[in-house]
């Protein structure tokens, strides 16, 4: 049994224009001690899905799933109190903007101790010692002095380290990192990623790494889930994915990596992610896909096995060639 089981997770926001489906039937398992990367453009629903797992979405959102379970416990049927006992303890999350994710009115020490006290308790002194230990762990110099610091006195990298310290305070089995390095300087990004991977290995926790950066995924993740417009389009071992992407969208994403580009111009994916009102009836990627056929426009493809992967495509790629594609024969000739 996987640590986190997600089957058919759907999240809808109520908007003035009607319901907006941010996540559409997501399936994902996260095993203990595994790093799963979730990749996709902004608006692909990657953060929303994990916020749903954490129970952090506003009450007005509709969350449905065939199964949403953590360590065997069904999250959707859990009482809010029991659910809260899990959040921040067994599963924790860090966010994209470390500078605004810390409360400006409280000291770093207070904010770290708060979670500890909530879930584990202990004397004031013991909690303080734990907090110092945690700050040390995440590589913050002079941790004792930092306890009394306010967030505005910290740099972005420091803030993210504090966020990580808060997240791992109760030894979570699952840590969700939502674009943890996007808002940081390039030099700091690598440090934070290294820290996350190191902590993950040391503590044997599962790590879900949400990012739009394929490079980050390549360096850290074991498995990758590629998201497009709220749907999973490919799920794969990381090495295989980079070697031989199955979905045209994944292939396009990889082509857009600077280190892979061979020409003078960096290839881009034309068009934009479909919005609320212009969702195509068939495959969601079809309007931007160079391989799209009439079949793609009419019938939405299911997420189906394609070799060693799951891919949501009628004509999954093998070695760059679409399978059973009506145009393949012509192209080959």
């Amino acid at each position: 049994m996987a640590l986190l089981e997600i089957r058919g997770l759907t999240v809808e926001f109520r908007t003035t224009l009607g319901p907006l489906r941010a996540v559409d039937g997501l399936d994902l398992d996260v095993e203990k001690g595994e790093i799963v990367g979730i990749v996709g453009e902004s608006g692909s629903g990657k953060s929303v899905a994990m916020l749903a797992v954490m129970g952090l979405l506003p009450r007005t959102t509709t969350i449905t799933a065939e199964r949403l379970a953590f360590d065997g416990a069904d999250l959707l049927s859990l009482s809010t109190r029991r659910r809260r006992a899990l959040t921040g303890k067994a599963m924790a999350m860090i966010f994209q903007e470390p500078m605004t994710s810390l409360n400006p009115c409280f000291t770093v020490g207070f904010q770290i101790v708060e979670g500890l006290r909530q879930h584990e308790g202990g004397s004031r002194r013991a909690l303080r010692a734990r907090a110092v230990e945690l700050l040390e762990k995440v590589g913050i110099p002079a941790p004792e002095e930092r306890l009394g610091a306010f967030p505005h006195q910290l740099s972005g990298g420091m803030s993210q380290r504090v966020m990580i310290a808060m997240a791992i305070a109760c030894n979570p089995q699952l840590l969700i990192a939502d674009e943890p390095t996007t808002a940081l300087d390039v030099t700091i990004q690598a440090q934070i990623l290294d820290l996350l991977v190191e902590l993950q290995r040391e503590r044997g926790m599962a790590l879900v790494l949400i990012t739009h950066d394929m490079g980050v995924v390549a360096e850290t993740a074991h498995r990758v889930s590629v998201q497009y417009a709220g749907q999973q389009v490919e799920l794969r071992e990381v090495k295989a994915l980079f070697a031989d992407p199955r979905h045209p969208y994944t292939a396009a994403l990889l082509e857009a990596l600077p280190e892979r580009s061979s020409g003078r111009l960096l290839p881009t994916i034309k068009g934009v992610v479909p919005g609320l009102r212009d969702r195509p009836p068939g495959c969601l990627f079809e309007p931007r896909c160079r391989l799209a056929t009439a079949h793609c426009r009419a019938v939405p493809p299911p997420l189906a096995p394609a070799g060693d992967a799951l891919a949501r495509c009628h004509y999954p790629l093998f070695e760059g060639l679409p399978q059973n594609h009506p145009g393949t024969a012509e192209r080959a000739s």
Binding site: L56, R84, L86, F95, N103, C105
Partner: protein, 336 residues
Amino acid sequence: MFRFLLARLGILVPTFVGVTFVAFVLIRLVPGDPIEMLAGERGIGAERHAELMAQYGFDRPLWYQYGSFLVNVLQGDLGQSLVTRRPVLAEFLALFPATVELSLLAMLFAVLVGLPAGVLAAVRRGTFLDHAVMGASLTGYSMPIFWWALLLIILFSGMLQWTPVSGRIDLLYFFEPVTGFMLIDSLLADEPGAFASALRHLVLPAVVLGTIPMAVIARQTRSAMLEVLGEDYVRTARAKGLAPRRVVGLHALRNALIPVVTVIGLQVGLLFSGAILTETIFAWPGVGKWLIDSIARRDYPSVQGGIVLIAGVVMLVNLLVDLLYGLVNPRIRHAR
């Protein structure tokens, strides 16, 4: 923090001097000269008039008169009341506790009702409760409080007979003022029923005076909370698995308080305008009523001194609020 305070004081002192100047000029603008006013209806001989003018220094050039007025003010001498012949400062200080007591209770009422109402409205955004709070708050904000006072008198004093119509305490209680605050003095006096009587006298005026601040605080709290509830750190707090009560009541409210404290501070200045009306209606023996009476009696030194003193108090309170603002906002407290 120290610099912040110094900068504030740097603005405050010239403003206060400016207030003394404006008060001085305003009183000089009143038609008729002060000695004639002193003499009243009986009139006064030309010789005696000149003598008195010289005695009070009114024959000196205006700039000289203002100079000596300013020097006197800075030494705590605000002149004499034309009516009672007592020093204006003494008159003011005797009545000031009554106004402070009333204002404090009004603000207490405003904060105790307005703050939770605003928080609730924000948390239950879009519900009936939210609309009810906002409707009530807008009504309170639009309230002519002199009319509101009369309405409450009709209801609570007239129909229900719960509260007295005027004054600070029933006449059968008498004790020496110790603090000047009737609620405290009545407790110290150890007379049965005195405290209850003082409280019953205080309730209606305090509610009336607190109505507009309450409405403003509720509105401001709601909008500040709505803004803060969408912040990343609130999500972080929830991600820690904290109870909603703690997330809203500590993490969100603590931040929302920053703008709310500013608004509460602004209300203190406006409170005096309300106190003038409230004290007049409830015959509350405070400085607001005293000023109105002084104007009616053409007791201009009292009016002049009263303006200076009240403006001084307002500025001091605003300074305190600025300090308080520094306390609630760590970003200012730790400004380098």
